[in-house]
Amino acid sequence: MIRIEPRDAPPRALRWGLPPLAALAALALAAIPLWLAGADVTRAYGLMAQGVFGSAFAVSEMLTRATPLILTGLAAAVAFRARLWNIGAEGQPYPGALAGSLAMAAPTVMKARLGVDEVVTTLLLNFVIILFVQMMLEGPFKDPMGMGWPQSEPMVEAAMLPRLFDRMRVHAGLLIGLAAALAAHVALSRTTWGFRVRAVGENPAAARHAGISVGRTLLGVGAVSGALAGLAGVGEVAGLKGYLTADLSPGFGYAGIVVAMLAGLSPLGVVAAALFVASVFVGADSMSRALGVSSYLADLIVALSLICVLAGGFLARYRVRMG
């Protein structure tokens, strides 16, 4: 008989070693579908690594992909620390930082005042925002010179974020993301604001009893989370595309949730997790092109690593005994 017993405290080595181990386990598990697809597994992983680290350009592409993931990952991590389940980082990038934070206000107020489940409201708001943006792009915002494509007029050159290197797509948005991660880390661990956020997330009843305003704290967290998601959108438009389209975010918001979970909701961990997820996406892209296997493999690996982290988290908290 298999028994599961709680551990007193997860061993420190396990806590730090868990995410990398889970990532490795996910890559190992992904060998099965690769092999089933008829690919040479070692060659596939070699190509993946090459696609990410093979050249300066490849690294730049990976960092470019990681940039929005850092910000949407932070958006999820900060909100989840307060147990505010913001699933809206898919839509919040569109309106930009300021309005992204406003887009979080309605769900947070409804949660704090009426107890409306924010998972539902933020998720549904994604569609509201994206469809609204689509409507505007088909109408008033449509670029008259855009050959009929639903995209906005291009940004003026001076307002664009500078590229970090010549002939590379990686842009200053990456620095913004890194700075945001550092700021979020300091804010959560060293300020009274972060203290309140953690207290509300950990035990809202005790926080309220101790005189912390749960509603106000959630509103603040929601605004910060929405702003971070909005920053991701700003970076994509001002750093990369130069104009707004309705397919600005190919799943960055949802990937951000995975990034936050992989990072154990730690802001600094988000950077590492975003780099990992971006590497998988970019590497699998180039590998699938070379080998002719489906590029959905990238989603598979990311999903597997999330499952591995969740399973690993369980093993860190409980001990499995036979007998």
């Binding site: 008989m1 028994r3 017993e5 551990r7 007193d8 405290a9 060293r190 300020t191 009274t192 604001w193 203290f195 309140r196 953690r198 207290a199 950990e202 035990n203 009843a205 005790a206 926080a207 309220r208 009893h209 101790a210 005189g211 912390i212 305003s213 005994r321 007998g323």
Partner: protein, 510 residues
């Protein structure tokens, strides 16, 4: 009792959790129809032992034997609650194991009802539960969701649940922690009756009075080992306490009678309207003056929660006024009450008292984040917080892995000391102590009582809400009785008749 056959034999049970040896070679026998009291301080290993008996934990060594229906001892497969249930072992846990979204009735039959043809048996089951409630005097509203029941009512449902399964061996882990003396007496009278019919009972308790009154034999654990046992008729309270702590207990100081000063809390017609009695407070006039302890005695679920919520700033009165330190309160929120100088010890220390994943040091400062000693320009002064935490933990004897460890790793008694430290360190002028010693062992409860008496000597007014009548009578200068949201003056403990107070708590005497 000695001639009755042994129905349960624990031999050499050991269990280690990490660095903690929770049980070391513990053995005991239980005879048919015997009521055995299992005693020991918090952390002495009583609950671990019972969890191994019931199959929740797998022992590292040792065996459990239970008599089958023919009275022959047979080894119980270890680590299997189902096997323990089948063998006729019933357990009532100290911490509730009820499904909050189901009703009393559904909770009692949960897991025991047949999978099919359930509807037909329902009426019969209801009648059986009604009869069980009548026989035991353990009443709880049958169709109310458990989430809406008071702590005391939930405890009764727990006991009903175990009795429902026709247990031949019943383990009660602190069954009366939330019952009034009358209810506890009624419960034990029931248990004694069932024991006379052949039920064997192990009960864990910290209340020496009921141990002496109702058990046949006493087994004491200390630091996870057998510390001794005796027949109850040969035992007295001091001898048991000495066996538990491994030495003589310091004498409890009698509270000094000082002349009380100006009112620090005054309720004038303050009331809270609510549909159910337990959340309701009838219009109430009362005062707590500086330098006195006012005890509120009552059965759980009679409006204590409403009174506590009002005095801790969590609830707004539906009418009437609340004055703190002579000033009418206009803002009813906890932060305002803290700022005014009210210290609050919450009833449920895990739910309202601490954020378990945050550190001990953080939990110590959670009520005063804006204090210059805690933060500067919005940034936490982490060094200062850690240093202060070390000092406070030493001063209030908060034992655990240290101030940087998560608060959830502390034992219940140490969490309560942490909350006491947080509250008393600010020298509040009014202290609300809601069930401050519930579930604490003799030593920790005495420490809490000493602190409250010291605060009173310093000039603080204390509002003590407790369901432990002995505690109310021992600590209070003045006693109020609360029943169905109505608070009535009962007088000073010296002049109080215990039976009359019990009747007032039951709402039967003026």
């Amino acid at each position: 009792m000695t001639q009755a056959p042994v129905v349960l034999r624990l031999s050499g049970l050991s269990k280690r959790f990490g660095a903690v040896q929770a049980n070391e070679a513990v053995s005991l026998d239980l005879r048919r129809g015997e009521i055995l009291a299992l005693l020991g301080e918090n952390g002495a290993g009583k609950t671990t032992l019972m969890n191994m008996l019931f199959g929740h934990y797998l022992p590292d060594a040792g065996s459990v034997e239970v008599a089958d229906r023919d009275g022959r001892l047979a080894a119980l497969p270890l680590g299997q609650p189902q096997a323990a249930l089948r063998a006729g072992v019933g357990m009532v846990h100290q911490h509730f194991t009820l499904a909050e979204n189901l009703t009393t009735f559904e909770n009692v039959i949960l897991g025991a009802e047949p999978l099919f043809g359930f509807r037909r048996g329902r009426a019969a089951a209801r009648a059986r539960l009604k009869a069980l409630m009548a026989r035991t005097g353990l009443h709880a509203p049958m169709d109310e969701r458990v989430a809406r029941l008071s702590v005391g009512e939930r405890q009764r449902v727990e006991i009903l649940k175990a009795l429902w399964r026709d247990a031949r061996i019943l383990v009660l882990d602190e069954p009366t922690a939330v019952l009034t003396p009358q209810e506890a007496d009624a419960l034990f009278a029931t248990v004694a009756g069932m024991a006379a019919d052949g039920l064997s009972v192990i009960f864990i308790s910290h209340k020496l009075r009921e141990v002496l009154a109702f058990s046949h034999r006493i087994v004491v654990l200390r630091a996870g080992r057998n510390a001794g046992e005796m027949a109850t008729r040969d035992a007295d309270a001091r001898a048991i306490a000495a066996m538990m702590v491994g030495g003589a207990l310091p004498a409890q100081p009698r509270p000094a009678q000082a002349a009380p000063g100006a009112p620090v809390l005054r309720l004038s017609g303050a009331r809270i309207d609510a549909p159910e009695a337990r959340r309701r407070l009838a219009p109430c006039d009362m005062a707590v003056r500086a330098g006195e302890i006012v005890g509120v005695a009552g059965v759980s679920g009679n409006g204590q929660a409403a009174l506590a919520a009002l005095v801790s700033g969590l609830a707004r009165p539906s009418g009437g006024t609340v004055e703190l330190f002579g000033q009418p309160v206009t803002r009813f929120d906890p932060a305002a009450f803290i700022a005014a100088g009210v210290g609050r010890i919450p009833e449920d220390r895990h739910h309202d008292g601490v954020a378990g994943a945050m550190t001990v040091a953080e939990n110590l400062v959670i009520e005063r984040l804006g204090d210059p000693a805690v933060s500067r320009a919005g940034f936490l002064r982490r060094r200062a917080i850690a240093d202060a935490a070390r000092e406070t933990c030493a001063a209030y004897d908060v034992r655990g892995p240290g101030p940087e460890a998560p608060a959830r790793l502390l034992s219940g008694g140490n969490i309560q000391k942490l909350i006491l430290a947080r509250v008393l360190d600010r020298k509040p002028g009014l202290i609300l102590a809601n069930q401050p010693t519930r579930g604490l062992d003799v030593g920790a409860a005495a420490a809490v009582a000493r602190r409250l008496i010291a605060a009173k000597a310093r000039g603080a007014g204390v509002l003590l809400i407790s369901e432990d009548l002995d505690e109310v009578l021992a600590l209070s200068d003045r006693v109020l009785a609360i029943h169905a949201g109505e608070i009535r003056e009962a007088g000073a403990p010296a002049t109080l008749d215990r039976d009359r107070l019990g009747l007032m708590m039951a709402g039967e005497a003026a």
